[in-house]
């Protein structure tokens, strides 16, 4: 049966060439759409890693000007105590500019066993950071006051970084070097990785440093965890206190919830545009397929009438037509799959292989479904041809 169908199609290969190329191009379009969707979905399923619901972010600048490190620290420690004394505030943490969902990024390299590892996020945070964001501690411990006087510099790494450099081995107590391999740092804890770029982005390897006595000269962000339900009333109070204390600074208060929405827009907007354009293209293709198939059937009325006269049932006629279209689709899908397989093999864009394979399978299913639906109605039309009428025509 299939050999016969293949022969039929091969005889008219020139005519079917356009149809095959059309299905091929739509497969490639659908493949790229599905790759993006699957990637976003996989990232979406991963846990965020932090509780951002009640956390506000304070941006300030022009830090307190003094040459005396002690008065610098006293200035900001006093601010922290003042903030913590409010019943509405649960916890306060000073941090570097690359807070979750912000547009600021600070990446650098680290050296492990004389191998350089790039694209690691460097964070500088204080002892309360883990508490404010509720980051899950997987191994070891978070920073405490004792780390200020430790012999080696203590750092905490996240699970992505740990997997990358230690795999399944123990990480606690191990030493890693910074980008130039000049300073050695000791790992004292491993925390869960955070999706800092929003719901649809992947987690990234990260390394946390503890603030030291000189950090307040350049730090510019404070994360404040408040009670549930605190609104603009308390926020304006907080704002006034901060602005009056940090007299030479511009102060801004943002909510992590809103920053997350803005971060997500970066991913959602291109995806929505892509979906709209792809949707329109597919509707176009479907209509085109439909029209061409319908026209082909009209041309073959004699052939179909003859088959019916000899005794073929209506069902077998429509089945033949549908199978012909499916085989056409298979031909173009084979070529398309060949091109698509290059993506996971060449590891394009560093996306995991599972994303590509899932996308290929979904696209193949989609194209088959599309061709099937487009050939159903013409097939039914063919089955409704009366043998006598068809053979009568000339």
């Amino acid at each position: 049966m299939f050999k016969h169908l293949f022969k039929l199609i091969w005889n008219k290969k020139k005519q079917n060439f356009l149809l095959i190329s059309e299905i091929l191009v739509s497969f490639l379009v659908i493949f790229s759409v599905f790759t993006l969707l699957v990637y976003y979905y996989q990232n979406y399923r991963k846990p965020m890693g932090i509780d951002y619901g009640n956390v506000w972010e304070v941006n300030y600048n022009n830090s307190f000007k003094t040459d005396n490190t002690d008065s610098l620290n006293l200035f900001y420690e006093t601010l922290m105590q003042t903030l913590k004394s409010f019943p509405q505030i649960k916890s306060v943490s000073f941090t570097s500019f690359n807070t979750p969902f912000s547009q600021n990024h600070n990446t650098g390299g680290i050296t492990v066993k004389n191998k350089k590892v790039d694209n690691t996020n460097w964070y500088t945070v204080d002892d309360n950071y883990q508490n404010v964001l509720n980051i899950e501690l997987l191994e070891g411990r978070w920073f405490n006051k004792g780390d200020a006087v430790a012999k080696d510099k203590h750092i905490v790494i996240n699970s992505d970084l740990k997997e990358k450099i230690f795999g399944n081995d123990n990480a606690i107590g191990e030493f890693i070097g910074d980008g130039d391999n000049k300073n050695k740092m000791q790992v004292i804890g491993v925390v869960n990785a955070i999706k800092t770029k929003g719901d649809f982005a992947n987690t990234e390897p990260g390394l946390y440093n503890r603030t030291d006595t000189g950090s307040f000269r350049w730090l510019g962000k404070i994360l404040v965890k408040v009670n549930t339900g605190e609104d603009a009333g308390f926020e304006s109070q907080l704002y006034k206190i901060l602005a009056n204390y940090l007299k030479s600074s511009n102060v801004e208060i943002e909510h992590l919830v809103n920053k997350r929405k803005s971060a997500n827009y970066f991913y959602l907007v291109p995806m929505i545009v892509l979906l709209i354009v792809a949707g329109f293209l597919i509707v176009n293709v479907a209509l085109g397929l439909f029209g061409v198939l319908w026209y082909n059937i009209n041309k073959r009325r004699g052939e179909i009438g003859l088959r019916r006269a000899i005794g073929a049932s209506g069902k077998s006629v429509s089945a033949q037509l549908v199978s012909e279209s499916m085989i056409l689709a298979t031909l173009s899908l084979i070529i398309g799959a060949f091109f698509a397989m290059q993506f996971p093999l060449l590891n394009v864009f560093d996306l995991p292989t599972s994303v590509y394979l899932t996308a290929i399978i979904l696209s193949i299913l989609f194209i088959y479904l599309l061709v099937f639906i487009c050939s159903l109605y013409p097939g039914k039309q063919a089955a409704a041809i009366y043998p006598a009428v068809a053979l009568h025509e000339e």
Binding site: Q15, L18, L19, S21, E22, V25, S26, V29, N59, N61, N62, D231, A232, G233, E235, S236, Y239, K240, A243, N244, S248, S249, N250, V251, E252, I253, E254, V277, F280, L281, V283, N284, V285, L287, G288, F290, G291, V292, W294, Y295, N296, K299
Partner: protein, 408 residues
């Protein structure tokens, strides 16, 4: 002759209404997508509110300092733009403004996010903002570091509500009270060099604007006397930058450019490749992809339709029509179809643009179809029609007369 072609084309289209609908759908939708994209680009790149003197202005937005081990780049400092750039001879005026930053203000237990921007006095002379009330602050107010502000219309409504006139009233932002001197028409955020909710004199900035470093948070606009002086102004700035002493031992090269609006808008920080190239490539790929499938579709449909008309073609060939005439006729028929689809596409785009403007996805961004956009649309139609008509026409002209007459 053309009238006959037209009549034949309409007759053919009416014969197979379903194919006509498919073709028109494909063409009109492709054109709608491309027109909306063009309107968007035209608005972002071409909208000259408030910088109406754009054709004789150059924009300085970035400075990069390179060294053997590192590279650092950001906007420029106020001191650099004021001191070094004012030593140039050709610019008539220099407008200096900071990038916009966010802060908050709280009114009636409501929080308002405010974007603020520091400017000098000449900024208001170069740019032509539409003031619905009052006017900008002047040089004297800037020199005296008076706490005055120009606010946008949206800011006025958000802060003051329904008041008719707010000039002279006080607005509190960033924990400071400013007196309103003027209210301007809104600028969409896509014009990010001139957008803000509140404009303040740079002298009230809390950050030290006298810092003698080259880089900071400010950008500059150089205004020339006429369009013809732009190249000379650009070169004069380049030469000045090349003579700058290095700030520290870490750096050995300084890059900074005074570019026309589009070049500076699309600046990606790549010193070797202009951002314009990236943008054009991205747009070209997108347009190609969007046009590819409908074109293949149309070619497909046209080929099948030609086979239908094989007897008509056979008769005409038998009577002596040359292949060229037939190809010519068919391409014109195709063009008529595409132009028809194009008209529908234009109507659809107008509807969709109204919807987009109404949904206010980007505040204050009003998209509209102007003459340029329509012209581009027509061009796209023609290209489309030619592309999808050439191959089927060629196939048709190759038909053997006898076979065509004999066939079903």
């Amino acid at each position: 002759m053309l009238k006959n072609y037209f009549k034949i084309a309409i007759a053919v289209l009416r014969r197979r209404k379903f194919f006509t609908v498919i073709s028109l759908f494909g063409i009109s939708f492709t054109l709608t997508i491309l027109l909306v994209l063009t309107a968007f680009i035209d608005k972002v790149a071409g909208d000259n509110y408030p910088d109406r003197k754009r054709d004789r202005s150059l924009y300085i937005t970035r400075m990069e300092e390179d060294g053997p081990g590192n590279m650092s780049s950001s906007a420029l400092s106020f001191y650099f733009l004021n001191h070094y750039t004012s030593s140039l001879k050709i610019p008539v005026k220099i407008g200096i403004s900071s990038g916009f930053n966010g802060t908050n203000t709280y009114v009636n237990n409501k929080k308002i996010a405010v974007n603020y921007k520091y400017t000098n006095a000449d900024y208001w002379d170069i740019l032509e903002y539409d003031f619905t009330e009052g006017k900008a602050f002047n040089k004297q107010q800037v020199d005296n570091a008076e706490k005055v502000a120009v606010i946008s219309t949206d800011m006025k409504i958000a802060y003051f509500g329904d008041e008719s006139s707010v000039v002279g009233k006080y607005i509190e932002a960033d924990n400071v009270k400013y007196r309103v001197t003027g209210v301007v028409k809104n600028v969409p955020i896509t014009s990010y060099t001139t957008y803000s909710d509140i404009y303040l004199p740079y002298t009230v900035s809390k950050t030290d604007y006298n810092d003698k470093g080259y880089r900071g948070g400010y950008t500059g606009i150089l205004l020339a006397n006429s369009k013809s002086e732009l190249t000379k102004m650009h070169d004069e700035y380049e030469q000045m930058v090349q003579k700058l002493p290095m700030e520290s031992k870490d750096f050995d090269h300084i890059y900074s450019h005074a570019d026309p609006y589009i070049t500076s808008y699309l600046d990606t920080g790549n010193e070797n490749q202009s951002g314009v190239v990236y943008a054009l490539t991205a747009i070209a790929i997108f347009v190609l992809l969007v046009m590819l499938l409908p074109t293949i579709n149309l070619v497909n449909i046209n080929v099948t339709r030609i086979m239908e008309r094989s007897s008509e073609i056979g008769v005409r060939k038998a009577f002596g029509a040359s292949s060229k005439t037939l190809v010519y006729q068919f391409i014109i028929e195709n063009l008529i179809l595409t132009i028809l689809g194009g008209l529908i596409g234009v109507v659809l785009s107008i509807v969709i643009l109204q919807v987009i403007n109404g949904a206010n996805l980007i505040a204050n961004l009003e998209l509209s179809l102007n003459f340029t956009v329509l012209l581009i649309g027509l061009l796209i139609c023609l290209v489309f029609g030619l592309l999808s008509g050439v191959y089927p026409a060629w196939r048709m002209s190759k038909l053997n007369v006898v076979d065509a007459l004999k066939a079903q």
